[in-house]
Structure formats: structure tokens, C-alpha cells
Symmetry: C2
Subunit: 490 residues, 2 copies
């Protein structure tokens, strides 16, 4: 052990924006933690140290006091200050170990699945390009009205609005949604059955965790939405793809296996093939769920936009035995950054959902919920939906006409009855992934149907959004596709 | 099969707020679904039906058209309309089955644990009563400033701000947090290591899912925060309680078992015993994690409020090998309904966290993140923290003095150095749960230490929040406790 006076303190340079005291503390900590000043070593007196470093003694006293409070140093300032002898400081061997590349963190089985899932979206601040799917027209949103309501709510917030909210959601919003669903989907539910969440993903995740054990089987549409299948797989459940035709899920193929616990269905607008599940299949699916004691998730991601024919009410409206969990989201009806979605759950599951939300999440921000509740209650929501249904209907027709006129024989757009996206078929044996990649180079986005495929056969084709783009953009976009689709290479 | 003319249609009364057409559709659907009008049955012509019901023929045509579109009826209007024969309509036996009480939904193992967890909060709109723990003073929050920033952001939102955001969080907020942590916690991290989430619960849930497999062991403080232990248990991991003393987690007791993957620690302010983990234990815990290849979650829920001595930097600041995940929340620093928390993760885990957030949640609302980023960047956050540190420090001193003056020998308040809550010990062998229940009847909230206990011994005592209450409230609250604590029954 060196005498205090001999201690060599090699201090690094002080950055300009760091105070003398902060810098000196940092240097001493580093020297102690690295073992350069050994445990038990006596430090120079504050007077000597100040003289050596050419700084005021007051600063050194403050530094010593702080490091004593933090546990690096021991002893009162007067009677000599030493480096704490109780610190389990790194030895030379341990210091060497630090130069070994850091051990890779061992992820759990679920963690590896989570880490492997592609980012769904990292480029939020970029406006969508034709024909990105799932895009509402954000420019057509009534910003002024929303801002007025938002400003009003922000101004009138009181301290008792700033505490924790109900995990199941803000009651006036749950009431407004229950009321809306009565008219739009013929779902008669109590507000207590409506659970407010941040997103459809979160809703699927919660359903999955509440209902699925490792080894259970869950049925999904194939081709179908991969984001659902990935979440179900996290539980260790077996995800089985069911065939889909132009009318949606083929209910003839439903298995009667006792380990099937859940079926996931996009009844209003099958993703990606675009069909609407007919009444007889809906009833068959419900009867199947009764027979197997299984549950059904009805994901209604854009079914509110129905352009022709009478609106078909939700499957949930036919659910007499509490088999159906209905999911809706405001991301596509209003705007994605709002982050509000909901599930309507059977009475028997309401408390379980509320508990699960409370433990894993707490609740969705009250402010957005309150603004949205007023937006719905004052009629702005219904008006916006009506206007968007007209606007998107016109754009759907334009997209279909343009494709028919310019891409006849190259791309067959299926009838667009519902939603924000069209499904278009390529000639048999075409490679839809290669086509989508080629289109990107011409500024056109399109999602290949094979992106949605698991094991069942699926036609080659593209899912393309029309709703966020003006008719002029649609015309230019379709024109840009002609040389790519007509190219003999594909 | 009856002839169309003989069909008896017993229709229910029409509610006043339902249109004729909507009501008639509903009645026909119900009659078909219940089997009262059998599959294949021919309906009266629109003319006859209109005459029978005394309504316009146009209404009946619309109703028939809608039910044909929905799949309930078949056939063109002119040539006779029949009930769809393809519908798998309930038979009499199946109808009877409906009267059986609905089958209880089978929850998964994880689902049962989720459903059994008590609601953490359902009464958000009620101001806290003395001495509810974990309560910032919401009345002291700079509402005017927040409203101004909120209003400004709301007004200047453009369509490209309304799409999906980055799952890991809004970059300016991540930068502001990284910058704040550099000064307040001596954590030097890149903004890319900061992940924005809705709550500490969500942060713990994500860590748990990414790191824990069934059968792994996770170490928690005992007594400790039950919300963490419950989340860890969802994965099927074994949750082992570690002893705690007045300085926090007893690192001497750390096991070297190879199946230990994670330790959860409240280093800045042990919940519930109130200690601050000394430097030597922090270093011992880090060395243990290196030796076992385990990770550490450092939950800093209220450590920013330090009333005496130098602020002790986060354990994360000592983490050289990427072992520590640091968690912070704005619920206690600003207000709970904001719903913003964060984790600082080692570089090796940043992509896994972003993927996991994207798949299970998507992202936290951008609006709140943007307002908060400005609030921090403009210095309001640091100013608010300084002011609250002073205010809460005065209240801590007041609470301690009042208890000393009025409850000496009945309740011993441990030194309050950090945070929003005091820990107070009851006489040995007292029943702290019974005491808390008795206090509630006198308008006083206090959380018994046994609420936090698993298997390790813990003293009888109460966790009581002082920070949200004026000195006058504190004096009245302490006075109200005197008769309860002095009662010989307990």
C-alpha cells in the first residue's frame, strides 16, 4: 500500500461542459472501480490534494463528501480518507474478463420468437406511397374538429383526471363504442364488455395469453394475417392454417379435434383474399365452436367501410353462447398514431380481461380516450365514416376501372366490396414476391399474397391499398405498373 | 311446409327509436335464426306482406333485399322469396341447449394467473386519501405549461405525424431521456437503447417474456413489489424471494444456481422497506450476474426524489457488461394518466425489445411522447423535479415530526431519504393487515408490509405516502391515526 503522498492520480482531461467537481468525482470513481486506487488506500488530505491539482480545497472537500456518501470512500474528512475496503472491486483477472466480448444474452423461447419477428413499422413519419395497404387518408381527417376537442379536454383537465384510470377503459368511451356497435354491427353489448386497448396487436396478444396453452391448437385463415399467427405461436400453441376461398374461411374443413381452443377469422373482409364470410358459414363456425368448446376471434379491421350491398352485421351479433371476441381498431377508421383499439368480450371473460390488462399494462391514456369519446358522442365519428365510405368507394371504383383499362389480362382486381385494400390476381404461376419487389423500384407498393401464406395453396396476387390516394395518384400509379406487369421476364 | 299465405309472423312491438325497416329486418332475422320460419319456407309476396302488416310495399322490398344480401333469404323479389335452405339453423335440440348455462370459457394456465391478479386500480377518478402510497401531488403539476405545449402540438400535427410511429419510441423523446439520465443517474446510453412503453408493468412484462422460460428461476426482493413477482410467474418461471434488510437486497444470500436468469431489484428505494442499496452490494450483484450469466432489472420507480445526501447514481451506471435493464416511469414524476415509462436496455437487447414491442403492442401514442419530449427539452421537467424534491422533502420532514410527536412508541418511521413513501414499523408481533383495515375506517390509507411478503421474514409495518398531501392534511391524518394505533385491541 502506498503512502497517501505517493499516490499517483493520473487524471484524464476535463471536458468543457463538465464542472470541476463532477469531473473529479468521475475520475476518482473510475480509478477506484478499475482498481487503480486499491481498496484501503489512504487518499491525500484535502489540503494536499487541492495543492497537487491546483484547485480549491472546498471543491476537494465536496468531492470527498460525495464519494463517502456514495460508498466509494470511507472515514471522516479530518481523520484521513481511505478507499472503502468493503468494495468487491474487480481484480486484474476480472478486469481482463471485461475485454472478452460480452456474453450474448440468453433469450427465452418466447423471446427468440419475439426477437425474430420483423418490425411491423419503423418509418411512421413517411407518407404512404401508392398502393400501400391498410392506409386511411390522413389528409381527409377532420383535424380542426379533433384539435378543438383535444384543446378543450386539455384545458379542462383537473388533478383527479390525472391519476390512474380504469384498466378496462374510460367508461364514456366504452359507452360510446357500445352504442356505435348497436347501430353499425347490430352487436348488443354492455359497456362493461368493451375493453379499451392500444392496438389490435395488443388485443390479439391478450386473447392469446388468456386462452392458449402450449400444445393447444389455434386455427387461422391460410392465407391470412401473419401478425396474428405470430402472436399465437408465442404461447407454444400449434397454429394450423385453414383453407380460404373467395368467400373467406372454408368452414367445411373445420376439424373437430378436442385440442382446438380458438379460431381467428376476418369475417367482414378476409385478409388477404377479400371475401366476406356468408351467413351460412358464420352459423357453421358458431356451431363448430359450441361443439368443440372453442372461442372465435372476429377481427373486424376495416369492415366498417362497405361500398355495395347492405352492410353485413358482425358475426358477434349472432353469438348467443359467448363464443365470439369481436375486435375493432380506430387506426384505420381515424388515424394510427391515436393508438386506440377495443375488444368486445363475452360477459364470462370481462373480469379476466380487466385483470390481465391491469397486470400487464395498466391502461390506455385517458386523454385520448376522452377526446375520442366526445368525438363519437358529438356525431363527428359517424359523419367521418359516412364521408370516408363515399370517398373510398369512389377511389375503389377508380382503381378498378384503371386496372381494367390498362392491365387487362395482366392483373385481375377482385370485386371491391369492403375495406381499404383491393385484392388483385396475377396470372397463374406468377411469382408475386418478385413482382412486388420489381414494383417497388418503380415507386409502387404492393403486398404479395404469398406474404400471407402458411401451408395451404393460395393464388399469386397482390394486396393493394387505394384509400389513401387521390384519383390522380391512382391513375399515375396504375400507369406506372404497366411496364412492370407487361415485362416478359415475370 | 306451410304455404306462404298461411305463414304466421308474430312480430314483437317496435321500439320508438328504431326505424320500421330496421325493426322488420330484426324480427325476420330472429324468426329465421330461431327456426320459427323454417329453411326453405316461401315468404309472402312483398305486396301481401305489406298489406298484412299495414306498411308500404317499398319498405318490404327494401327489407327483403337486405336479407337476401345478408344471406337469410334467397330468390329474386319477383319470383318468390324463400328462407335460405343452406343455413345450418338451430334444430329444436340445439335451441334447448341454449338454455343450458353457458359453458365456462377454459382459460390457459397463464390466463388463470392473469384473471386471478387483483385489479391494481379501478378508481382512477378519485383523489388519493392520506396516506396512499405512490402518489405524486397532481395539484402541483404545471398544468398551464403542459396545456400550452399540448395545444401547440395538437395544432401543428400534420398528416405524416398521424401514421404509425417507431415501436421503440419517438426519437426526440428517447434523446431527451438519454440526456436526462446522463445528468441525473450518470447513465451514459445511446437514445437507441431507450425503449418507450406505457408503464412499468408493461416493461416488466416484456423483460419477463424476453428472458424467462418455464422452469427458470428469477430472484425478487422479499418483501418486495408483488406486481413484479406476479408478472414473472406468468412465464412459468420459479420466483424466489431473497431476504432484504434496511439497506435493501442482501447480496450475501445470492445463489449461484445455473438456472437463475434474472434478478429484480429496487436499488434506489427498496419497496417496501425503504433502503438504498449500498455501493458494495451493487458491485456484488453485478459480479454475481457476470458469474451466472444472469440479467438484472433495476426498477427506479421514485429514486429521482432524493432528499438528503448526494444523489446516488443508478446501478446501471456501473454496468460494464450489459447486465442491467434500467426502468423508469413518468407516472410518479409527472402524472399517472400520461402513460409513459421507459427501459434502458443493453445494446445486445435493443433490437429484440423493438421487435417485441412491435409485435405485441405496436407503439405508445406519438402525441404524448412529443409533448413530453418538448417538456423535457425546454427545461420544465428538470424544474418540476427540483420543485417537487423541495416540496416532498418538506412533507417528508413534517410527516416524520408529526409521527414522532404523536405516535412515539406506537409507530417508528424509518429515515426518509428517497421517494414518495415512508416506511413505518409497528411494534413486534403486531398484525399490520388488521391495522391497515382499521385505519381505513378512520379515513387513513396505509399498505401493510405483509402485503409485500412472500416467504422471508419481514417486520410488521406500514407503507405510507406523504408526497400528495399538504402539511395540514398530514397533521390531521397523523392525528386521526392516534386512537387506532393506541387501541389496546391491536
Amino acid at each position: 500500500m502506498k503512502r497517501a503522498g505517493d499516490l499517483e492520480l493520473v487524471l484524464g482531461p476535463r471536458p468543457e461542459d463538465v464542472t470541476l467537481q463532477r469531473w473529479l468525482c468521475g475520475e476518482l470513481r473510475a480509478a477506484i472501480l478499475s482498481g487503480r486506487i486499491p481498496a484501503g488506500q489512504r487518499l491525500p488530505s484535502t489540503r494536499d490534494f487541492a495543492r497537487q491539482q491546483g484547485i480549491s480545497r472546498g471543491t476537494v472537500v465536496s468531492v470527498y463528501d460525495q464519494l463517502i456518501a456514495e460508498g466509494y470512500l470511507a472515514g471522516a474528512t479530518g481523520s484521513g480518507t481511505t478507499v472503502s475496503s468493503s468494495l468487491p472491486i474487480a481484480t486484474a483477472a476480472a478486469s481482463a474478463a471485461r475485454n472478452v466480448p460480452p456474453t450474448l444474452v440468453r433469450l427465452s423461447r418466447q423471446g427468440r420468437l419475439l426477437a425474430d419477428s420483423p418490425f411491423l413499422s419503423r418509418d411512421g413519419a413517411v407518407l404512404p406511397r401508392p398502393f400501400s395497404p391498410n392506409q386511411p387518408d390522413l389528409g381527409a381527417f377532420p383535424h380542426t374538429t379533433w384539435h378543438r376537442l383535444s384543446n378543450h379536454h386539455s384545458r379542462s383537465v383537473r388533478p383527479d383526471d390525472m391519476g390512474h384510470g380504469d384498466p378496462a377503459g374510460y367508461l364514456p368511451l366504452r359507452q360510446a363504442i357500445a352504442e356505435h356497435l348497436r347501430y353499425s354491427q347490430r352487436i348488443f353489448c354492455r359497456p362493461e364488455q368493451v375493453m379499451i386497448l392500444a392496438s389490435a396487436q395488443q388485443a390479439l396478444d391478450l386473447c392469446s395469453r388468456l386462452l392458449l396453452d402450449a400444445g393447444d391448437t389455434v386455427l387461422v385463415e391460410d392465407p391470412g394475417y401473419p401478425g396474428a399467427a405470430r402472436l399465437f405461436a408465442l404461447t407454444g400453441a400449434q397454429v394450423r392454417g385453414m383453407p380460404v376461398d373467395k368467400n373467406g374461411l372454408c368452414t367445411d374443413a373445420l376439424p373437430a379435434a378436442p385440442d382446438v381452443r380458438l379460431a381467428y377469422v376476418t369475417a367482414a373482409h378476409q385478409s388477404p383474399l377479400g371475401g366476406t364470410l356468408p351467413l351460412e358459414r358464420r352459423l357453421a363456425l358458431l356451431a363448430w365452436a359450441d361443439a368443440c368448446n372453442a372461442m372465435i376471434i372476429e377481427d373486424d379491421y376495416d369492415g366498417e367501410y362497405r361500398f355495395e350491398g347492405a352492410p353485413l352485421p358482425a358475426m358477434k351479433s349472432l353469438d348467443r353462447n359467448g363464443r365470439v371476441i369481436y375486435m375493432g381498431t380506430f387506426s384505420k377508421l381515424l388515424f394510427p398514431s391515436l393508438r386506440i383499439a377495443y375488444v368486445v368480450v363475452p360477459d364470462a371473460l370481462a373480469d379476466a380481461f380487466a385483470s390481465a390488462i391491469s397486470l400487464t399494462f395498466r391502461h390506455t391514456p385517458v386523454f385520448q380516450q376522452a377526446v375520442l369519446a366526445t368525438f363519437i358522442a358529438e356525431g363527428h365519428f359517424a359523419r367521418h365514416l359516412r364521408q370516408m365510405r363515399l370517398l373510398y368507394g369512389e377511389r375503389a371504383a377508380c382503381f378498378q376501372q384503371e386496372c381494367k383499362a390498362r392491365l387487362d389480362g395482366l392483373l385481375t382486381v377482385l370485386p371491391i366490396t369492403t375495406g381499404l385494400d383491393a385484392t388483385a390476381l396475377l396470372p397463374e404461376h406468377a411469382d408475386d414476391r418478385a413482382m412486388a419487389t420489381a414494383l417497388v423500384q418503380w415507386g409502387i407498393e404492393a403486398r404479395p399474397i404469398s406474404f400471407y401464406r402458411m401451408n395451404q395453396p393460395a393464388p399469386a396476387g397482390l394486396v393493394m391499398g387505394f384509400s389513401a390516394f387521390s384519383e390522380e395518384s391512382i391513375r399515375r400509379g396504375v400507369a406506372a405498373m404497366v411496364p412492370v406487369l407487361a415485362s416478359p421476364r415475370r
